[in-house]
Symmetry: D2
Subunit: 343 residues, 4 copies
């Protein structure tokens, strides 16, 4: 069997660990492994590389992906599906392991369902918002990076009687903010899921300072919309300019501004940005990514297509791609309650 493997969407620590596991396990099971470069585009462009044990040696601790990524959707390109199918045939691929987020997995699902492409999915998102898996690799690393940064901000905040606002990633979910905030002892955590009014945040800060604490740490998920007690929400542009190129966190500054005005305390913003997506994965993410890769190789080996690796509890299982691309997983009430109880 010839098994292709591709990485789609945004960067995520652990991608190389998946590629390595698919390659080593696939080879042990007697298959040829083909790395497809720049996501689905590599199929269309016949841009591939043979992978063997030696090709994946040393990549486990490295961030990024040796295959490159791209945002390329065959369904949006002219004759995209046709060219993709032709590419798969010409490359003689008997299976395609697609490692990616919501978008990549939806493409995989549709190619499988409507066109019979033999795909296996591996979920990838630092945002932890894919519904079919309890956790996805990359998330633990993102949280750890944020936690270390907030640890550093603590001492500066303490020494200077300041409010530090930290904007973290997470798209429409508050998972990173919630975990990093709990891990690093944030005083206020603002996530999309409960839309805490900014006035409540300011009150909490004021009460804290009245109790004698002279600084506060506020963690804001990028997906939080500024909410007022009146229920009014202000959409915050994510900072892209007319060219769509530059993106500098928006909501962090807006929240800092509001807090500064409302409380009169000196306030500073840190936007961690893509530091959260790159670099060496934590041990936990490497193990999870490896387990996903091992299962993906087995699913391909057993021709169980249309399935995806997922974590349920502590077990790695396979689920239908259909299930995987159904709905986003938001932070549930019990997690929000835990965060409120400790903050």
């Amino acid at each position: 069997m010839r098994i292709g493997v591709l990485t789609g969407g945004g960067d995520c620590p652990g991608l190389n660990a998946v590629i390595r596991a698919v390659t080593r396990r696939g080879a042990d099971l007697g298959h040829e492994i083909v790395g497809i470069r720049h996501s689905w585009r590599g199929i269309v462009d016949r841009d591939v590389v043979e992978l063997d044990r030696s090709a994946v040696s040393g990549i486990l601790p490295r961030g990024g992906t040796i295959l490159g990524m791209a945002r390329f959707d065959p369904f949006l390109e002219e004759r995209g599906v046709e060219r993709t199918l032709a590419g798969i045939a010409e490359l003689r691929l008997d299976a395609v392991v697609a490692i990616g987020g919501e978008g990549t997995l939806a493409i995989a699902h549709r190619l499988h369902g409507a066109h019979g492409v033999p795909v296996v999915g591996v979920p990838k998102t630092i945002d932890n918002d894919i519904g079919a898996t309890d956790y996805s690799f990359g998330f633990d690393t993102a949280v750890q990076v944020c936690c270390e940064a907030i640890d550093r901000l603590h001492t500066t905040a303490e020494s200077h009687n300041r409010i530090m606002v930290v904007e973290v990633m997470g798209r429409n979910a508050g998972w990173i903010a919630l975990h990093a905030g709990m891990a690093a002892g944030a005083d206020v955590i603002l996530v999309p899921e409960d839309s805490l009014p900014i006035e409540d945040a300011c009150d909490a800060i004021r009460e804290r300072h009245e109790r004698g604490r002279s600084y506060s740490i506020v963690v804001v998920a990028e997906g939080y919309a500024l909410t007022r007690r009146s229920g009014e929400q202000e959409a915050v542009s994510q900072g892209s300019d007319a060219y769509g190129y530059v993106r500098l966190g928006g909501i962090g500054s807006v929240v800092a501004d509001e807090i500064a005005r409302a409380t009169g305390y000196e306030t500073r913003v840190t936007v961690l940005g893509h530091v959260q997506r790159g670099g060496t994965p934590t041990a936990r993410d490497r193990v999870l990514a490896t387990r996903f890769g091992l299962l993906a190789a087995r699913l391909a080996h057993e021709s169980r297509f249309g399935r995806m690796a997922a974590l349920r509890g502590d077990r790695v299982v396979d689920v239908s791609l259909d299930e995987a691309t159904g709905s986003l997983k938001l932070v549930p009430p019990e997690w929000l309650a835990a965060a409120r109880q400790i903050a």
Copy 2:
């Protein structure tokens, strides 16, 4: 209610996060929190300290425990139980949150069962071998520390055509070795659970080198007993001298010696030792420890004694202390298989 909290057994990253969560949540629920110093001994010695929000401020990222630890078993001391009961009465403790490993939890269980002491347990072990919980805090940090060390050893091994043997903790279980080995790409992982014969390890290393790789990384759990194909096992003294004071890993050196003799390759040993037990916890361990602490405060608040916090899947639940102290959790076959498939 006056809730005492104590930490028993060996050091473990995340202890302070539990103490902080019990204190903050307990206080919010209207209770007084009393820190008991040096485990059960602090009850006997009336060595306690009042804890409030301010007392636990800033401790979240710190390793160790602000309460100190000790190995003190009331059941082994003269009139130990009697003095413990008297201490609890005199200190007016309505609940005792006991954070500890197998030993501490067994004491808690017995004090509750036989003497009606109102205890709540929180499992603590870097070894991850407590049966009633999927994971315990401290384990993730230990694995991360080992993984970072092995990452560093990789480059030295590569540059020098060497075998690097790394001995890690874990007592009778191979959890740390297995996870750190998978995370850092070890070539051979030796754990107590499957007693891989040393000859097999040497063969694997030789085959690898014949395939052209000029170095190998071997991770050995401290609990692995040197095993031969004949089935013979050699118990390895853990290096304590006649005074019982000094302990320098034993099995790592023995394994290195065997490999060096059998393969002729230059071999080096690293014993990470207590570096695995100390220092700042990972974000994940801080979150888990905090969740355990929040639940422990609630169990005390609701007078649900004889219970212990545990992680099941991604949920924090309470289980009976009876269940918790039943049996050690060893690495199951599916984990061993995964490790074999990738190594």
Copy 3:
């Protein structure tokens, strides 16, 4: 002798190491050590704390300062000098060790010169721009933090064919940008000292991409002013709003915008912010801060006032405060040349 010690200005990793060294060495030399809280304000407010070995135990690895900081200038306050002198007298201080940057040291110098206050200075700046010392503590930590962040950005940039712009601190000097850029392999480094025209930066990026590299990392010092080949410079507001509270790096976004427009490549900005100022110091900064503290204690002990600790080559020496506050130390041509040769 009663030796007061204070920390002024902005946060800087290593402050606690200086306080610890002054306290331990001062006590060993037979003196009482008094911690003055919130910089010079603590003298005016009689806000002090006695320091002994136990008070400084455990603070060595911690960022921030146990004494708190403030921006307080006696020469700008009403009767500020008079109240400061009265405070020193009432607190019976025979010496004041002032740990601070340009501003704090200038105040120390003036109090000594014009009013005979027995001061000893210790230079502190993450920006490394104090002329009288080759290096100051805090700088190495700031560079290391930036370097680790850029390491992480590399993999994301590589995987996505992107330009990553990283804005780092440094005030009017390019030291942090230059060192972090060299350490992390930045492709373009923009510092105030040589005012590289933005068109040159864009050309360098384009040439690099034409050679086949599909991504670039650009490090910008916050003090860099956008410069055009025409010689025109655009001052970039540092992002403080009307309230002066919020500060979110300005020049990074401006540079990213220019590059995106000129090259057409997708561009992202990261502003590391106060993460660079907080948290545990590197080993090197701890050693340097400790050596400065040891010398400061000796200078006080020997009543050699108006002097400041400084690093010259690898030796810690004392220099006149006059010399210390003379001029900023900018990046010299040979460093700029080295950076150009490797980028």
Copy 4:
């Protein structure tokens, strides 16, 4: 010109940074760069690889060396010099940049002096014991690794009332022990240079514990010989067995044993081993290694052979290889005094 570059001796963080700088700068100056594999042996074996910008892309943050290392001395091999000279001729090398420690540099010096080989040296040692340079790259990383490990041990020591003995590298010099010990707040530092009697160390620990501190951290340089007040010294075998393969620190265990016997306190040993030699270099080491590489390329370019890069104060200068290989640089009295004052 064809410039060969080789790495000799033991592993050291920063080697790849030197190779990268020599390659990039050498190429910019119009030369061909040839990587020689496995030190001098690669010349004899004609085992070389052409290096260009692309070959050294991405290696800056990586530990180890892309060229491999070996301990190979042409002067000890049969017809070694003859074959080396023949290799240089056949490979058409106009210059050889030799990056290495004492041994490698001595070979370079002799090949140049006695046989006219056009060599340029770059000093490499984590031990910081090469006399001609104030600091060598790799040292800062080794100290940082030790410091982080000791930080972790602190919390365990504190929580358990223990003595932690940490054995660090450094060969016959105490530089790593001294810096790591100062940086991490060790209570006792044992280095070869001052041969502190073990009884003094035990007294210091006892006094500390009598003052109320319940734990101590002892850092021992591997080169320290157990010394008694009587002046007697005990050589400690470095743990190599009959095969010379296995090496597990000796002196750390011996010191721990002595302390445990003399004080009665529970004592633990950690031997960091090769973790100190591998992995990503600190920012500072990357900058220093890069500067050395830039100068080496220039020295080759200018045919200034028999010279070596060195750091003097903050300047990178060239010195004669003669000077470089003269004598080891031990820790001088003023550093020892500083360490005593703070411990």
